[in-house]
């Protein structure tokens, strides 16, 4: 009679049927009566101002309802703070159509609203602008002197400034037996989820709006809309039941939401705004960065000195930062360290977090430097990692809540047959291909945000759980259902998780691999309270067999409460609700990170990645032929969706290492490969079998679930492992990403 635990089983996605039949509806899929279509016009200049704008030709087109520009937009909130969202970096937030100033290329400058999409798009081409261009600067390399420490602010809580130096780095580096001094360069990347950013705003009248938006944070966007347009937050409902990928681009309210809501309120009509692919390149990006690493080791291979300096771009108006330099000292002990992170403000849009922000940038450099150091010393790269392995966090001396990285190394290395490789570069061949084997380590913070959950036992004895989080393809719906089912002792089929709605109890935006730990733990906390409530009610039933039974004397299984000793003595949830006059029993609780207890610990997920590449001897084309990632992330709630998360981010690793790059023309100050034909991401043919291992890791400290996130860790180690494998295959170190074949010729 006992319910089989759902957590840990590879349950298929609950929303799977909707997704494979085309009935899953995304932000642009809501066709409401009288819908108007908005089309955005973007600035073709990089810096300057709009001198004149003539919208008459566009307005003359039959079907055009309105053209909004900075000249005629309705009045808006006055204060910058009102435009600030939960993820806004320190600075002055960009306000669309605010004034005539152009801050970056691709900035939205007008919205055409028409009765059909075709008409709006056509009319947008008829608006005449007179621009006044000013000189601009979009090149990171040319201006190292402009680098400065980033401003601190509210959102920097998750992105602490670089750690303070320890010991005497310069002296230790000068005296080290083996050293590496290398520069690394990363290009701009854009998230490019396949779903285009879109918002459908339904004008309900009386200052009420229902908004279907592409976002990673329903409440974040609800508050943004309410603040900017002066609406009561209860009158703004943001819904995102399905999100076609976001990867960080949906962490902040994007301009299509702003423009769509503005048009809907102005015209008192239902409006939809969908961006096109080119416009998707104006939403924020992973910044270009320059890094210098100097690692020194003693004669035995123990690290004695580590320096990691990084310079990254930001916009003129906000100081975007990411955690690039702190990682090496969370992995490897070294008595002398020097870390620095600076930003260079350029005439570009503010960057925005993109999957494993900072982590995959910094760890690429760190793990390539470690590989180089291993070759200098003449030991196996894995051996060097194990030699410098630390059970505690070297940067603080605190223990980890759990760290099964060694298991990751050994299990992945064994499965990969790592120890059979010939370590000499450029000697292993297969036909006309040079073969290379590389490895790297990954680390990512294990975050938990506060989350609030409402749990209800219905008249049918079923459980309904509410939380405002989204499911951006990570499997949140499925995983939360499993957690809730086990927490209440119900089969999965008796549990409904309702989400993606700002009206539901609080959730932060879905980022930082934190939602499973956040909402999941909140479900655990809420379920405990609900169970007590149910037991109490069950005991009030006349002749209840549970009378006088304490919580520890009963078990919750299959929709019943049973005595542990005599399981036949039971009361079902249905009976309890019947005794409650058929009224559902519910409770709402907040799940909080155990901040005080966890202050004494470092929380992190770890991974080890092993990669085989083939490089064509003549053409130097690179193929990742085999890749294994072993991950230690605490308890894995659903091995099927977690595996997909990891193998999906391994595809991102291949993409970052070998494919994707937004090319910036410094003379025009704009991105020039703004389409999916020229912005290369891996296709089916680029991807071979990706193997995923979950290392057993029991974590009783981190949260109620013992689970850490898996959304980003799979990407962290992969680029360095590929770069190291390319070195092993060819003997050439290419310290810029992506690595193109011409650099090997």
């Amino acid at each position: 009679m006992k319910t089989t635990p759902a957590v840990g089983t590879p349950l298929s996605r609950i929303e799977g049927k909707q997704k494979v039949t085309g009935t899953a509806r995304y932000a642009a899929d809501y066709n409401v009566p009288g819908l108007l279509h908005g089309y955005v016009v973007n600035s073709p200049i990089t810096k300057g101002r709009i001198v004149q704008v003539d919208t008459i030709p566009a307005l003359a087109v039959e079907g055009v309802v309105e053209v909004l520009t900075h000249k005629n937009r309705p009045g808006l909130a006055w204060f910058d703070l009102q435009y600030t969202d939960m993820d806004a970096p320190p600075g002055t937030v960009f306000k669309p159509l605010h004034n005539a100033d152009i801050l970056y290329n691709g900035q939205p400058v007008a919205l055409v609203v028409a009765t059909s999409f075709e008409t709006a798009r056509y009319a947008a081409t008829l608006i005449r602008f007179v621009w006044e261009e000013e000189p601009f600067d979009t090149c990171l390399q040319n201006h190292p002197e402009k680098a400065r420490p980033a401003k601190k602010g509210f959102a920097t809580a998750l992105r602490p400034p670089p750690p303070k130096p320890t010991g005497n780095f310069e002296a230790a580096f000068a005296n080290a037996a083996f050293t590496v001094d290398a520069d690394y360069r990363h290009s701009t990347e854009h998230h490019n989820p396949i779903e285009l950013f879109a918002t459908t705003t339904i004008y309900e009248g009386n200052g009420k709006l229902t908004i279907y938006d592409k976002t990673q944070g329903t409440i974040n966007n609800q508050l943004f809309v309410a603040n900017v347009f002066g609406l009561h937050y209860k009158n703004v409902q943001v819904l995102a039941p399905f999100v076609g990928g976001a990867f960080g681009s949906g962490l902040r309210p994007q301009y299509q939401l702003f423009l769509c809501v503005m048009a809907a309120l102005h015209l008192k009509r239902n409006v939809r705004v969908v961006l096109d692919r080119k416009q998707m390149f104006s939403l924020g990006h992973r910044p270009q960065s320059l890094q210098n690493l100097r690692f020194g080791a003693d004669a035995t291979g123990k690290l004695t000195a580590m320096s990691h300096l990084a310079v990254s771009e930001t916009s003129q108006f906000e100081d975007y930062t990411e955690q690039v330099v702190a990682w090496s000292h969370k992995l490897y002990p070294a008595p002398n360290t020097l870390f620095d992170f600076k930003v260079v403000p350029l005439h570009l849009n503010t960057p925005i977090d993109m999957r494993a922000p900072g982590g995959c940038t910094g760890m690429h450099a760190i793990e390539c430097a470690m590989d180089e150091l291993a070759y200098r010393i003449g030991i196996d790269p894995l051996q060097l990692r194990l030699l410098n392995y630390s059970e505690t966090d070297p940067s603080t001396g605190k223990p980890f809540t759990s760290k099964a990285l060694k298991t990751c190394y050994l299990r992945a290395a064994t499965q990969f047959d790592w120890f059979k490789r010939d370590g000499r570069p450029g000697v292993t061949t297969r036909g006309n291909k040079l073969v290379g084997y590389g490895m790297a380590t990954g680390i990512w913070d294990a975050y938990q945000f506060p989350a609030r959950v409402e749990a209800i036992i219905t008249a049918e004895g079923k459980l309904v759980v509410h939380n405002a989080t989204t499911d951006i393809g990570t499997g949140t719906l499925t995983v939360m259902t499993q957690i809730a089912a086990d927490a209440m002792g119900l089969p999965v089929a008796a549990v409904t998780f309702e989400y993606g709605d700002s009206k539901k109890p609080f959730s932060m935006f879905q980022g930082g691999s934190a939602i499973t730990a956040s909402t999941g733990s909140a479900i655990m906390v809420t379920a405990e309270v609900l169970k007590k409530k149910l037991l109490k009610k069950a005991q009030s039933i006349p002749n209840s067999p549970l009378k006088n039974a304490g919580m520890e004397e009963v078990i919750f299984t299959n929709g019943t409460i049973r005595l542990r000793q005599t399981p036949r003595q039971a009361v079902s949830f249905k009976q309890i609700i019947a005794a409650n006059n058929g009224k559902p029993i519910k409770t709402t609780r907040m799940g909080m990170p155990h901040a005080i207890k966890l202050r004494k610990y470092t929380k992190a997920t770890h991974s080890a990645c092993f990669v085989e590449v083939e490089v064509d001897k003549d053409l130097k084309t690179i193929t990742v032929t085999r890749a294994i990632t072993a991950v230690a992330a605490g308890k894995i709630i659903n091995p099927k969706t977690a595996r997909s998360q990891i193998s999906g981010s391994m595809v991102w690793g291949i993409s970052k290492a070998l494919h994707e790059e937004t090319i910036l023309d410094e003379h025009l100050g704009k991105y020039i490969n703004t389409n999916l034909g020229e912005y290369h991401i891996p296709v089916h043919a680029d991807i071979n079998t990706l193997e995923v291992i979950f290392a057993e890791e029991e974590d009783t400290l981190i949260n109620e679930l013992g689970s850490k996130g898996v959304g980003e860790i799979g990407l962290v180690a992969m680029p360095a492992a590929i770069a190291n494998a390319v070195f092993h295959a060819t003997g050439k170190r290419v310290n810029k990403l992506p690595i193109h074949f011409d650099e090997l010729l």
Binding site: R13, R25, N192, P193, I194, G473, G648, H684
Partner: protein
């Protein structure tokens, strides 16, 4: 024969006359151009289209510029086919016309009248999922689900075309469908599963 010479005066008088003549043209040309435009380039034209989609007959009024994708999504409420690029680069809009896979974003609706069109909504038979749909669920051949309708339509065609002899062949013939979540392994597995039946 007398040798012809051009005087300065001759040059001035002819060139000024020519300039005056040219100056007079624009009004006429403009009027002529407008005439031509009116006759040959209608500002906006709405046509009546008759389409056969998922074995159902539709008669709709549509702008001549309307693509099959926009028609499906905006007018027929068949929003399963997705727009990812509108340029034929991502494959999210893949549907079948005459049993063959086409990119509906690059197909004008007016050009596929009275040809059998199948979209993702027409793949399952009632509650009975198509084997490919079932396989995608089992093999976790998707994450966010946005590219999925296109992937499945391509996958069904890939099997029908017989391009499933090897993993390499499947991957080659599926490479027109991008998946940013990186569910490629699961998608190939799904296709192998269905092809083996």
């Amino acid at each position: 024969m007398e040798k012809q010479t051009y005087s300065r005066r001759f040059f001035l008088s002819t060139s000024s006359m020519a300039a005056a003549a040219v100056a007079l043209i624009p009004g006429n040309v403009k009027a002529f151009y407008k005439n031509v435009k009116k006759r040959f380039i209608p500002a906006k034209s709405v046509n009546t289209l008759s389409l056969t989609i998922n074995q159902k007959q539709y008669t709709v009024q549509a702008d001549t510029r309307t693509t099959l994708l926009d028609l499906l999504r905006e007018q027929l409420q068949l929003t399963g086919s997705k727009k990812g690029c509108d340029h034929g680069q991502c494959g999210a809009c893949t549907v079948h016309v005459n049993g063959e896979r086409v990119l509906s974003c690059l197909t004008l609706a007016a050009l596929v009248q009275n040809q059998p069109i199948t979209t993702i909504e027409g793949l399952a038979e009632g509650d009975q999922l198509h084997p490919m749909q079932q396989a995608f669920i089992e093999c976790d051949g998707f994450q966010c689900g946005y590219c999925t309708p296109g992937q499945i339509m391509s996958a069904v065609a890939c099997v029908k075309e017989g391009h499933t002899h090897s993993v390499e062949e499947i991957k080659e013939f599926m490479s027109g469908n991008l998946c940013r979540c990186g569910a490629y392994n699961g998608i190939v597995e799904s296709i192998q599963k269905v092809a083996a039946r």
